[in-house]
């Protein structure tokens, strides 16, 4: 268990680091996908199989592809996909992020008395129970999410359509 955990978390951390540091945008996205998959592995380790599947389906299958499309639309398609923008604020950013990590997150985690063992050894993470929960106590949340997704879909389309083109469409 601990071995699997170490491997998965190492992959997750390293690929996340590469994703934010690589100059080549497509490589960054591909490592981001590796990060998503490793995280799905961690979810399975925590017995959340359904969420692992959703994680892969949504992040690898949808978000990752979206990012790739965005890269293809904003870069030279065939040529060099590397970012040429110098990051001169790197030092300050590094310092800020490290400060957050070292002064806020890690001490908080390490000082708190947290359970070493889960309450129950194995859970049967029934998808059915999840669905029933979504349908009964969290219906409103589900509806709001549905509305949000629809709004996001429409919003994305409206933003991405160029103004001139939409006027043309109105005329025709």
């Amino acid at each position: 268990m601990i071995i699997t955990f170490s491997i998965l978390s190492a992959i997750a951390v390293i690929s996340a680091l590469l994703a934010v540091r690589l100059r080549n945008l497509v490589h960054a996205t591909l490592t981001l996908m590796a990060f998503f998959v490793a995280l799905a592995g961690l979810f399975i380790l925590l017995m959340a199989e359904f969420l692992a599947a959703v994680q892969i389906l949504v992040y690898v299958g949808a978000v990752g592809i979206l990012i790739l499309f965005a890269i293809m639309l904003t870069q030279q398609v065939t040529g060099n996909v590397k970012e040429h923008i110098e990051a001169h604020g790197a030092l300050w950013g590094l310092a800020g992020a490290t400060a957050v990590l070292l002064t806020l997150l890690l001490p908080a985690i390490l000082k708190t008395a947290l359970p070493l063992q889960p309450v129950v050894e194995t859970i049967d993470p029934s998808v059915r129970a999840l669905g029933l929960n979504l349908m009964a106590p969290y219906t409103i949340a589900l509806q709001v999410i549905a509305l949000l997704l629809t709004a996001a879909l429409l919003g994305a389309v409206v933003i991405a359509i160029s103004p001139e083109k939409s006027e043309e469409e109105k005329k025709s």
Partner: protein
């Protein structure tokens, strides 16, 4: 010693073998994992080899040719010859390609292709990974193949490859929707994402367990989802969408040879190409296996109980025989389609997914819901069936008419006077 059931023979053998390892639980787990994964890795490449031969022979028959006939009787050794040729070929990597992504792409394609096989129930008690979320895991891992195709297309630094990769992404993302939605109807009716439960739901257990052999046979067939209006429509939508999902003709745009040479495969050769080729066929098996499971009753088929067995669920013909028979039947239909139909164009392809299959799949969900709640007479859906069928047929006609428009029509030709 339990009585030997022909259909459970492999399961019983496995359990017998594992019983020796009871005192070494860790070894037992490892052996159990090996016993459930190695057959997958051994059987499906074999099926792939047979299918390449079948495809070449079948296409040849469709096209008035003979097909491979030099290697062994009827050219049956052709896959072996092809395999040896592929392995011995030089592996050419374009100089400017992105080497890592170029190398990883076939691997990234192959791993999910084999992994998704593990949620398919090949027989009763014969499923490599009995997970509660089987169907959604299948779709989730299946969506990773999109990424692999993009990697292949992008890393080759070839414009044909890039076009193929972009086409593949657009196509796979679009067709995933009707594919999943037509499966959703089945999930809704079963109330489970578990593939074993989906198969079990399609068998009429009272009939199977009766003493009448005819009823036993019938009970294995009559409950198949494909015999319900939503199941039939769902099966057709699923099948068409799966053709697009695995880039088979007439949706083989990502590797359209007459337009973009071989799409994302253009710069692949040798072993990597073989891996790609195999992964595509294995995904084809997987998706046909899933449509078998969802709509065609999985491993069930005309079957009777062995007379010597007391187990009410025991069957004479092993279920995996039926499973593979159905899977290969679907493969043959795919080969037949490939020999018959021309390819769609990219905008037609998108229109077909978004304007035709998707509304139909959504309609199908409503029909499924209606069918579920419609009153029944002695368990027979006397209301749900005809009305469901009528609604599906009418929506097919309407959506089809709306899509066709005035653009294409048979023309009348005149002669010069």
């Amino acid at each position: 010693m339990t009585p030997i059931n022909p259909d459970q023979l492999i399961v019983q053998l496995t359990q017998w073998a594992l019983s020796f390892l009871d005192s070494y639980p860790l070894v037992a787990v490892l052996v159990a994992i090996l016993l459930s994964t190695v057959p997958l890795i051994a059987v499906f490449p074999g099926c792939f080899a047979i299918t390449t031969w079948l495809e070449r022979k079948g296409l040849a028959r469709i096209q008035n040719r003979i097909g491979p006939n030099r290697t062994g009787p009827l050219g049956i050794l052709q896959p072996a010859a092809d395999g040896i040729k592929m392995l011995l070929k030089e592996d050419i990597v374009p100089k400017t390609s992105d080497r890592l992504a170029h190398f990883l792409a076939p691997v990234v394609l192959m791993v999910p292709a084999f992994t998704i096989l593990s949620v398919l129930p090949f027989n009763r008690n014969m499923i490599p990974a009995a997970v509660d979320t089987g169907v959604i895991l299948f779709f989730a891992l299946g969506s990773v193949s999109t990424l692999a195709v993009f990697m292949a297309g992008w890393s080759s630094r070839n414009k044909y490859s890039l076009l193929g990769g972009m086409r593949a992404i657009a196509q796979m993302v679009s067709y995933e929707l009707p594919l999943v939605l037509s499966g959703v109807t089945v999930i809704m009716m079963t109330g489970s994402l578990d593939t074993t439960k989906i198969v079990a739901q399609q068998q009429l257990s009272e009939w199977i367990q009766s003493s009448n052999a005819g009823l036993q046979c019938l009970g294995q067939i009559i409950g198949w989802n494909v015999f319900t209006p939503w199941g039939f429509a769902g099966f057709l939508i699923f099948f068409v969408a799966s053709l697009a999902e695995i880039n088979r003709c007439p949706f083989d745009l990502p590797e359209a040879d007459s337009e973009i040479v071989a799409g994302h495969l253009t710069e692949y050769s040798g072993f990597k190409y073989a891996l790609f080729f195999m992964s595509e066929y294995v995904s084809a098996f997987a998706i046909n296996g899933l449509s078998t499971t969802l709509f065609l009753g999985g491993w069930s088929g005309p079957n009777i109980r062995p007379p010597w067995s007391d187990d009410p669920n025991a069957l004479l013909i092993p279920g995996f025989v039926w499973f593979f028979a159905k899977m290969f039947a679907l493969m043959l239909v795919m080969i037949w389609i490939r020999g018959t139909l021309p390819r769609l164009r990219v905008d037609h392809l998108m229109g077909f997914a978004w304007k035709f299959l998707l509304p139909l799949a959504i309609m199908n969900i409503f029909v499924g819901g209606f069918y579920y709640y419609a009153p029944r007479w002695h368990g027979i859906p006397v209301v749900g069936w005809p009305i469901g069928f009528l609604v599906m047929y009418l929506s097919y006609e309407c959506i089809g008419r709306l899509n066709r428009g005035p653009k294409t029509a048979q023309r009348v030709y005149h002669y010069a006077s």
